[in-house]
């Protein structure tokens, strides 16, 4: 869409007012200096400033996501790109992979949107909501985003967030209860288990966030693991990352051959 010069692009994001930059309606130096990191992020993506309790919840979630083994696929890709000595290519690579792959549904807005739809439906007629959930699981072969564990049947990140949550009865909101219902449905009928994405989505919805706010938070949290890897990789500059060990590469393409044009030239 091309904008006419008389129709500027509307923005609530920010304006660099000389000496007093504004972000989302706040005077940065007058009102936001010292703001908690998660509150800065929340405000920046169009939600609101967070309470210290909300930041504490996000700190807990984020710390439970500190799983950064360099063999995790998207972190491996980050390390390869960073092994040439720069951090940014690794960070960019993993951000793209996190946003677009099905891996754990990490960045899929589908999860919080489904939870929200389930809640609305269940307040009207609970059996309809349950039927919707069953269909959602069936169309994803029992493993929709948020329930699609890869390396392990159960996601330990989910386990630890849930364990912490059980000690925080005041955080037992509607979406967390929905998450518990769906987790039970998944276990009983589909032999699948939730991962952290669905629980984080539920917690954030209960905190008042909209579905579109969930992926940026998860991306930010997950990119702590990316930075963990790319900083080290950029310093190590490992040859084995730049070029995969050749002894472990197997060729599976066509045998040596001549092209049709080369064969025709030989006949002439």
């Amino acid at each position: 869409m091309s904008m006419h010069p008389d129709k500027p692009i509307p923005t609530n994001s920010a304006r660099h007012v000389m000496g007093a930059p504004r972000v989302r309606g706040y005077d940065v130096y007058g009102e936001l200096v010292g703001e908690d990191f998660w509150s800065q992020l929340s405000l920046s993506i169009g939600f609101k400033r967070l309470s210290s309790r909300q930041c504490e919840i996000l700190d807990t979630i984020s710390s439970c996501l500190l799983v950064a083994d360099p063999r995790i696929w998207f972190l491996r890709a980050a390390r390869i790109c960073a092994s040439f000595g720069r951090i940014a290519p690794g960070l960019a690579t993993t951000s793209l992979l996190l946003e677009t792959t099905a891996l754990s549904g990490s960045m899929k807005i589908e999860v919080p949107e489904f939870y929200q739809a389930y809640r609305v439906l269940s307040t009207r007629h609970k059996p309809d909501a349950v039927a919707l959930a069953r269909t959602w699981f069936e169309v994803h072969d029992g493993r929709p985003p948020g329930f699609d564990n890869q390396a392990q049947q159960k996601d330990e990140r989910h386990t630890h967030i849930a364990t912490w949550l059980a000690t925080q009865p005041e955080e037992d909101g509607d979406h967390v209860r929905i998450h518990q219902e769906l987790s039970e449905l998944a276990r009983q009928d589909f032999d699948s288990f939730p991962n952290f994405v669905s629980l984080v989505a539920a917690l954030m919805l209960d905190m008042g966030f909209s579905p579109e706010h969930v992926p940026p938070f998860i991306l930010t949290m997950m990119n702590i693991n990316t930075l963990n890897n790319v900083v080290e990789a950029s310093l190590q500059k490992s040859e084995d990352l730049r070029t995969f060990p050749q002894d472990n590469v197997r060729y599976a393409g066509p045998e040596v051959r001549r092209s049709p044009r080369a064969l025709a030239a030989e006949k002439r």
């Binding site: 010069p5 994001s13 060729y251 092209s259």
Partner: protein, 234 residues
């Protein structure tokens, strides 16, 4: 390397030991033991002597070497997709990279990212055209036709340049639709292949705009398009 003592975190089991995975990385195009061959063809003794770079690209996309008519039509389709001016996202980002003083590698990386996103938008905008090509039924969708005489004239010349594939191009096609239909005609038919070709076609111009040209902060029209900031409600 010193062995770690039992019980050390570096010796404890992880999920990666539980899951059985291959111990080899499969290479389908180039044999590490024959590093100057692509899909079995010798680069110096065969491909360089008998094929163009565009035909090599066709080979990598399809695993098949094109005949001469197909190779030429494919090359001309790439050329048709190539022109982008500075308003295009890929070129624009490349120029911005130059404005901020990025080194060439960074400028190319940034331009490539924007070019891929632009190519994705091009392919998505032609979803209905792809569906029409898949069915092969009826006339092309209206949105991919134009009444613009200048475009029609250029499309006619382009179609003439396609040789035996000339008749595959509806004369009233938009320029981009004509190029994508030509790709379909020569056998580049999946959306992933389209995405690749559009990206490869446009990246050189984007890079040339940013990397090969000098841009200064003052040369970039930073207040266009304009923004209208309004404080978000608290």
């Amino acid at each position: 390397m010193n062995e770690l003592p039992p019980g050390h975190p570096g010796t404890l089991e992880t999920p990666f030991e539980r899951v059985t995975t291959s111990d080899t990385l499969v290479s389908r195009l180039v044999d590490p033991e024959q590093p100057r061959r692509i899909l079995g063809y010798d680069v110096a003794g065969d491909l360089q002597q008998n094929y163009s770079w565009a035909e090599l690209l066709f080979l990598t996309l399809t695993s098949v070497l094109p005949d001469e008519s197909t190779g030429r039509a494919f090359e001309r389709s790439i050329m048709a997709l190539s022109p982008i001016d500075a308003s295009n996202a890929g070129a624009n980002v490349a120029i911005l990279a130059s404005v901020v003083g990025a080194d060439p590698a960074t400028a190319i990386s940034a331009a490539a990212l924007a070019c891929v996103e632009d190519a994705r938008a091009v392919v998505e905008a032609h979803d209905a055209l792809h569906a029409w090509l898949c069915t092969g039924l009826g006339p092309s969708p209206d949105e991919f036709r134009t009444d613009d005489e200048h475009v029609r004239k250029d499309v006619e010349i382009f179609a003439d340049n396609l040789g035996i594939y000339r008749k595959s191009i509806p004369p009233e096609s938009t320029w981009l639709a004509a190029a994508l239909i030509a790709l379909w005609a020569v056998g580049i038919q999946s959306k992933a292949q389209w995405l690749s070709v559009v990206t490869f076609a446009r990246l050189p111009i984007a890079v040339a705009e940013g990397v090969s040209s000098q841009h200064t902060p003052g040369s970039y029209p930073n207040n266009i398009p304009r923004y209208r900031y309004v404080d978000a409600p608290r």
